[in-house]
Symmetry: C2
Subunit: 426 residues, 2 copies
């Protein structure tokens, strides 16, 4: 038996705004940051997790993680890790903390960081990557991870069990294929709004050379700029490479439909975050208005209740789960099951700090044990800040190479933490 | 010209769980708290605001308020107060802080506290209560307070202007009536789940004697208890007093419909928070399933985008705005305009710490300058913690007496702050 002795936190910030990496229509100057947590045990091991933020307020996010110490410090580790469904409920249903959301924003993401750190610890103790830990669980165990509160009008535990049992045949074969071939990726590296046309063209060319068959461009600043940039990108990549666009919540409903119609001739793979991430009915109206171009969203989807509604209302055609927006692995398992129920493809959001490292495990688990398919699926890839992680993603030939190291991919190098941690009063 | 010199914060907590005041199906043991802020100027005056929480995490909420200091400290006060629409946008659209919601949870509520504190300062400088400050503004000035981003598919600035112009005739007459007769109230004091039957009956009797014509009972623990408690309440108050019930988000969609059908014979005035406050489509299904019993919700409604959808989908029949859940007065003005557009009555949520003191100003402004009616409208009243406020509400004969003191009602006594502030490490 071992005990949790501390939640060690760090306010980690990178000055990415200096290069305009990550610049889009709503976020002109992000400083990619992580509210980082290490769940430390008296056995000498630890689990690592974080919330990705874009700068100011990262200290608030750290404070929220620290507010969870009372739930974990002093507790025996093994029962917590053995019943991750119960551990999740204990954190999310703390009635006093729940008031601060409920189940959304800073407090909910803080729970996600801690839940993910516990999964990292469990995977390390099992000596396997997280995707394999999850993919080795029985359908009953997986259903036990999910809180079905507020979901049962769309997905019952019995239906979830059927989905998971349906994917049991072929698990071993898909795991083997994954280890051999990796998982498809697409890249957002060329498309940041702050880049000039020459850099855009060069990065588009490099993306194709590197083997990507989908790229993504940020849009929503000025229509004329979007048209010019899309023309450059389409000329460089040719007709066979898919181009998605991402408006980062820039538009109202009518604007979105009108704007996208002006861009439709460039053969768009999807339109991402056209409007407020809370606007289920608005997205549904946009999806109807721009069909057959798919609507993609999810990186700012606060919780599984939003996912349920977006899917039930046909308000999205591509679900973009995020590793650190919701309450961690468990809630993302719920969202994967909902997507499977509604037959919608999942193309995870990544980039930021460590989001690629973390979310690949969820997509790979989904392939092995939930949806059982790679059809139309790919994980976003942005090539920065990977060097700060102990097990950085490996992307080659347009594919994520399947990780085999133990853990959830969420551990940063001690030297990186030391170099980029700011003090609370900075 | 004066300048803001500090945002002074305080982590204020009251041990209400000892008496089970405030106990409901989701919140068995709240410790009513306030993340309090004082916006201090070098002119020697100050504006006061707060976020109501129920205990743990109040320190996180305080940290979020402190993260806004950079937006305000050192700034000239007069331009901020003269352009509250611009001030609101500056805070809400800080792209880095926005990432932490967006527009929801701890960070959004923090903005609400600061916005409300600025309104308190403005009202004090104008020497009038907040409701009168708002009700004296022109339709154009009021429209300028509202951010219509994400709203225009349901409400355009032009439509808002029409609503406000339509309510201009009769403003003076309604103001006079308000000052004379006050605003209708209903009481939740009898109905907390933690009270025994004898206390319930006694408090129901007292409510009727005090002149209330609506009471509210918490439900959603055990069905048999709800039936027994409703029977007691109905027997005590008779057939002419309305009884609403509040499930505090306890149910899934099917449970809500089934449970309410078991209680329908008690003639329910409304069913409050039957399920997740994020579940627009779920509420719509419940509303259809229990009609003609109205669905009421709003105290946990994260922002105006949710309000828009709830109204457009006919997912609620009573909108319960809350003074400290959204980003302050400005966003509540948006919600009042949306309710007016959809012809839905507003019955504000109150209770907690200072929510009655704060929200009465919004309801009274609505009556004078937006909806122009009291039809079916009333403000929740819970009789505790008012003694800590400099201008406590006065409720008599089942009505809020209209406040006439300058300010937004949000200032606590210095002695109360001193006695109930806990230190960050407590």
């Amino acid at each position: 038996m071992s005990r949790i002795t501390a939640l060690d936190t760090a306010d980690v910030r990178f000055p990415t705004s200096l290069q305009l990496d990550g610049s889009d229509a709503m976020n002109p100057d992000p400083d990619y940051s992580a509210a980082y947590v290490r769940v430390v045990t008296d056995a000498g091991d630890s689990g690592h997790g974080f919330v990705f933020t874009i700068g100011r307020g990262n200290d608030v996010q750290v404070a929220a993680i620290e507010a969870l110490a009372g739930h974990l410090v002093g507790k025996d580790v093994e029962p917590l890790l053995a019943d991750m469904g119960g551990t999740w409920r204990d954190l999310v249903h703390d009635s006093q903390l729940r008031w601060l959301g409920p189940e959304k924003g800073v407090m909910h993401m803080a729970i996600g960081a801690v839940v993910n750190a516990l999964w990292d610890l469990r995977a390390k103790r099992e000596g396997r990557p997280l995707w394999q830990v999850l993919a080795a669980m029985t359908p009953e165990q997986l259903v036990g991870l999910v809180d079905f509160r507020y979901l049962t009008d769309a997905l019952t535990p019995e239906e979830a069990l059927q989905i998971l049992r349906g994917a049991e045949p072929g698990r071993a074969e898909r795991e083997e294929r994954l280890l051999r071939d990796g998982y498809p990726a697409y890249t957002t590296t060329p498309g940041w709004l702050g880049y000039d046309d020459e850099k855009l063209a060069r990065l588009c060319r490099e993306a194709v050379e590197e083997g990507f068959d989908q790229i993504k461009l940020k849009v929503g600043g000025e229509l004329a700029d979007d048209v010019r940039r899309l023309r450059i990108a389409r000329e460089v990549v040719g007709p066979d490479i898919r181009i998605a666009v991402d408006a980062n919540q820039r538009w109202d409903v009518a604007d979105a439909i009108a704007w996208i119609k002006e861009l439709a001739s460039f053969d768009l793979a999807w339109v991402e975050e056209p409007t407020s991430p809370d606007d289920v009915l608005g997205h549904a109206a946009i999806a109807r208005g721009i069909a057959p171009i798919p609507v993609a969203t999810g990186e700012h989807m606060a919780n599984r209740v939003l996912a349920k509604q977006f899917l039930a209302a046909d308000a999205l055609q591509v679900l973009q789960i995020d590793a650190t927006r919701v309450a961690g692995v468990n809630e993302n398992v719920a969202m994967l099951l909902l997507a499977a129920k509604f037959g919608v493809r999942v193309c995870p959001h990544a980039g930021g700090v460590g989001l690629c490292e973390a979310v690949q495990h969820l997509a790979m688990f989904d392939y092995v044990a939930v949806s059982g398919t790679l059809e139309g699926r790919m994980i976003e890839f942005v090539d920065h800040l990977h060097e700060h992680f102990v097990t950085p993603v490996r992307v080659a030939g347009g594919r994520y190479r399947t990780p085999t190291e133990p853990g959830a991919g969420t551990e940063m190098h001690a030297a990186s933490l030391a170099a980029h941690t700011v003090t609370r009063d900075a």
